[in-house]
């Protein structure tokens, strides 16, 4: 077995509402949606007309700037609506399920015996290509791109994250097929990173064709960006592709069966959930059947994803995001708190050691809510970000270079290596309540624009 890479910096946020390891087959949703907003820099062009019939794997829209990148329906039925948001941007492309699951068929066969072009084409046609993203920028990989390596992080250290060991246990063979396919896409290595905290876990440890490493440490040790920086750091001009484990399984199944399998597991977690558990469902499912009889009383926020990297969705009309294996429901923090800033804080979670909870109940789990806890200020405290970002990067200096739009400095300070999820903890701990991840994304956008012109 490969070595265990220890991550020292970071922070595990202990929260109530961890999903119990039970699979529940979710009641089938009536509608499913693909949300173009799940990908950065995507301009969708709708293919079928409203009320057209679609099958599982029928393309429903494509990327205006890379027309070969198609996005496919996860169920069979009709294209029922295209929901738009601000400035008529397409937010959701909704399919009404007919329950028949009639499916398109794709190329079947052992990827080891296929040419790269065939694999790429099969992934593009089946709508699985968008599951492959690239760093820097975390945009959809370019089909003709040549990544120097492909990274799969097979564990998640975010708060209340699903246990991928549990989730992938019975899919090892499909996973192997997926790795075989991915291996053909790069001349470099495929890196498979496993959780080093539980060395006894053997799931995925026998996967062939990938370099297996184990990472041990607090969040964000499970973030693929951190793992890339330790194993194969991104320099100017480098491109690394990343794929999430459930998508590796879907890719494997595509080649094994010749069909797009949209099934996936989603963990329902959080302090406002009656019974946190795992659901077998279908990609892009409406959340209502999952949340039925599961929500506790009180104001709450439903998040597709986790509390550090997730999209706020509506409990009535929201859909699970393409990349999200987790739904989190936490209390909304829209309350005033009398003298909150000078109370001892027995029930508050903070990395600052000025709260009673830090000293009296260090292992306490918290009902974290969405309160902002103060107001936004200029940068004052220093050294906070560095403690939760396990990379050789100066985060505050990088943020300042973004704020003044200094492209050269951003590049020099390592913006290519980062994604919002990697700096989410910086935003969490910031005393000045700086919108760190938004600033970073603005920087990445500016950088991408600059490089592509």
């Amino acid at each position: 077995m490969a070595e265990v890479i220890k991550i020292k910096k970071g922070l595990d946020i202990k929260m109530n509402g961890q999903a119990e390891k039970i699979y529940v087959k979710a009641p089938r949703a009536k509608t499913y949606a693909i949300k173009p907003g799940d990908w950065h820099g995507l301009t969708p062009k709708i293919i079928p007309k409203l009320c057209d019939e679609v099958k599982v794997g029928t393309p429903i829209f494509y990327d205006k700037y890379n027309p070969e990148v198609k996005f496919c329906s996860p169920v069979s039925g009709i294209l029922s609506s295209i929901n738009r948001g601000e400035r008529r941007r397409i937010v959701e492309v909704v399919i009404e399920d007919d329950g028949k699951d009639t499916a398109e068929s794709f190329l079947q066969g052992d990827p080891a015996e296929m040419k790269r072009e065939q694999i790429v084409e099969n992934l593009l046609n089946s709508g699985l290509w968008p599951a492959i993203r690239q760093r820097p920028y975390t945009t959809i990989a370019k089909p003709d791109g040549k990544p120097k390596s492909i990274f799969i992080s097979a564990f998640d250290t975010s708060p209340l994250a699903p246990d991928f060991e549990f989730l992938l246990k019975d899919s090892e063979e499909d996973f192997q097929w997926g790795v075989n396919a991915l291996k053909q896409l790069t001349e470099g290595k495929v890196f498979l990173n496993l959780d080093g905290r539980y060395p006894s876990i053997r799931t995925l440890s026998d996967i062939k064709g990938a370099e297996i490493n184990r990472f041990k440490g607090p969040h964000p040790a499970g973030n693929v960006g951190i793992q890339i920086s330790k194993l194969d750091p991104i320099n100017k001009g480098d491109v690394v592709w990343i794929v999430q484990p459930q998508d590796v399984v879907a890719i494997g199944r595509l080649f094994k069966t010749g069909a797009y399998d949209p099934s996936m597991v989603v963990a329902l977690t959080g302090a406002r959930v009656e019974k946190p558990q795992y659901y077998k469902t279908i990609r892009g499912a409406a959340v209502t059947p999952l949340l039925e009889k599961q929500l506790k009383d009180g104001d709450k926020r439903v998040i597709s994803g986790n509390v550090l990297n997730g999209t706020s969705i509506d409990a009535e009309s929201g859909y699970v995001g393409f990349f999200d294996s987790q739904l989190t429901v936490i209390p909304e923090g829209n309350y005033y708190e009398l003298f909150g800033w000078m109370m001892p804080g027995f029930k508050k979670m903070s990395v600052a050691r000025s709260f009673a909870s830090t000293w009296l109940t260090p292992n306490r789990k918290f009902d974290m809510d969405t309160n902002f806890h103060g107001g936004q200020r200029a940068f004052v405290m220093t050294g906070e970000y560095e403690k939760v970002l396990p990379m050789d990067i100066y985060p505050m200096q990088l943020l300042k270079s973004i704020l003044v739009n200094d492209i050269d400095k951003m590049e020099q300070l390592g913006i290519y290596e980062l994604d919002e999820e990697d700096m989410a903890l910086c935003e969490f701990v910031c005393t000045s309540k700086t919108p760190v991840t938004k600033i970073l994304r603005d920087g990445l956008k500016a950088m991408r624009k600059e490089m592509e012109e």
Binding site: G237, N371, G375
Partner: protein, 393 residues
């Protein structure tokens, strides 16, 4: 919802946009957020926030200053009555000191916060809490007999020129409290230095014991003696220097009280222990060097006594650690702190113009902090470039 909250909600509307009292919004919000942490919720992809905020971090700094403040109150009374030759009870001394210091604190906060709120209103921002700390630091670095109008003038100068012209809290280059002190030191030297200013009532001169001297230990050391005497002509021990029963600025004398503050700051993680530690280390190294090459009595003063004297400990714990004006990289904090300590003792002993060097050393390093950071960040950049070249080959 509490009745207080209902009351605030009731009186709020005129302050909001379009209301009659809108120009006072910043002030209203400052007071409102003093009572209530706002009901604002997170937006964007990060949905939870650490419970800590700027107010809490800075209130910890004020709490850490309380021991020094309390000691300063007593010490002011103690020296006053000593100079008058009156046997006073403990509470008498405390009461005298309290009446002496309270007006200074009030002037400092009223003037400083007034300017902060005005600027925040002008910029349409929330009032930043930075002045919480500066407002307490300024009184603690003043001599007991400082005229109140001087405190006010110095505060105006410090807040406007030291901070607001750069853009407010978080943007300033120099520590505002030190700017206030430096301003008075150069503008009104007779009130900020010499042998008469450190003890309340001494400059006035009525009822003072004959031959009573109010010279600070550093004042005496500058005239090249190391047998330090108190006002009545009795010898000071190192213990006196540590406890702080010596004349000096209001909050700076007691190393013990300051160390209690340092413990609070370090345990809560509000101030950088690296800076505090390295200031002391730098001072000790310079002291040792001077001991080694001593050609006069001051240079031969044991290096550790330097750390107990003047504003050294106070500067190390409360001034050098100001995160805005210190270096912002962790490596830089070691260098920054060390040089402050090193230069402070150098200036103190070898420059006859200034009996105390801490203020100068910190202000100087405030100016150099961005340069230190620049080189450290540059080395990170070079490392990244080198890595890119290695993989490219």
């Amino acid at each position: 919802m509490s009745s207080l909250r209902r009351f605030v909600d009731k009186i709020k509307p005129p302050f909001e946009k379009g209301g009659k009292l809108h120009i006072f919004l910043a002030g209203f919000e400052a007071i409102e957020s003093f009572f209530f942490v706002p009901n604002q919720v997170t937006r964007g992809r990060v949905h939870i926030k650490d419970a800590n905020d700027m107010k809490r971090s800075l209130i910890i700094v004020i709490i850490a200053m309380v021991p020094a403040l309390l000691f300063g109150i007593w010490n002011t009374g103690f020296h006053h009555f000593q100079a008058l030759g009156i046997e006073a009870a403990f509470w008498q001394m405390v009461w005298f000191g309290f009446l002496k210091i309270l007006p200074i604190i009030i002037v400092s906060y009223v003037v400083g916060l007034g300017i902060e709120i005005a600027f925040a209103q002008m910029r349409n921002e929330e009032v930043a809490e930075g002045y919480f700390v500066s407002g307490m630091l300024i009184p603690l670095v003043m001599p007991a007999d400082v005229p109140l109008w001087m405190v006010a003038v110095a505060t105006v100068f410090a807040v406007v020129i030291g901070k607001e012209v750069f853009g407010g809290t978080g943007m300033n280059i120099l520590n505002p409290a030190l700017v206030a002190r430096a301003f008075l030191f150069f503008a009104y030297p007779s009130h900020m230095s010499g042998d008469k200013v450190w003890i309340a009532g001494l400059a006035d001169g009525t009822g003072i014991v004959d031959g009573y001297s109010g010279a600070t230990i550093l004042g005496q050391a500058a005239s090249n003696t190391t047998s330090f005497l108190n006002g009545l002509g009795e010898a000071y021990t190192s213990w006196d220097m540590f406890l702080g029963t010596i004349p000096g600025s209001l909050g700076e004398t007691s190393t013990l009280a300051i160390l209690i503050g340092a413990a609070i700051l370090i345990l809560t993680g509000v101030a950088s222990w690296k800076v505090i530690f390295s200031v002391f280390a730098g001072g000790a190294v310079m002291g040792l060097l001077l001991n080694l090459f001593a050609v006069n009595e001051f240079m031969a003063l044991p290096f550790w006594e330097h750390l107990l004297l003047g504003g050294f400990a106070f500067g190390a714990v409360f001034m050098a650690t100001d995160p805005v004006t210190a270096t912002q990289t962790e490596k830089g904090k070691w260098i920054y702190g060390f040089l402050i300590g090193f230069l402070a003792i150098l200036i103190r002993v070898l420059n006859p113009a200034y009996p105390e060097g801490v203020m100068m050393a910190i202000l100087l390093m405030n100016v150099f902090a961005p340069l230190i950071d620049h080189y450290i960040v540059e080395s990170n950049i070079k490392k990244r470039l080198k890595r890119a070249k290695v993989t490219a080959n």
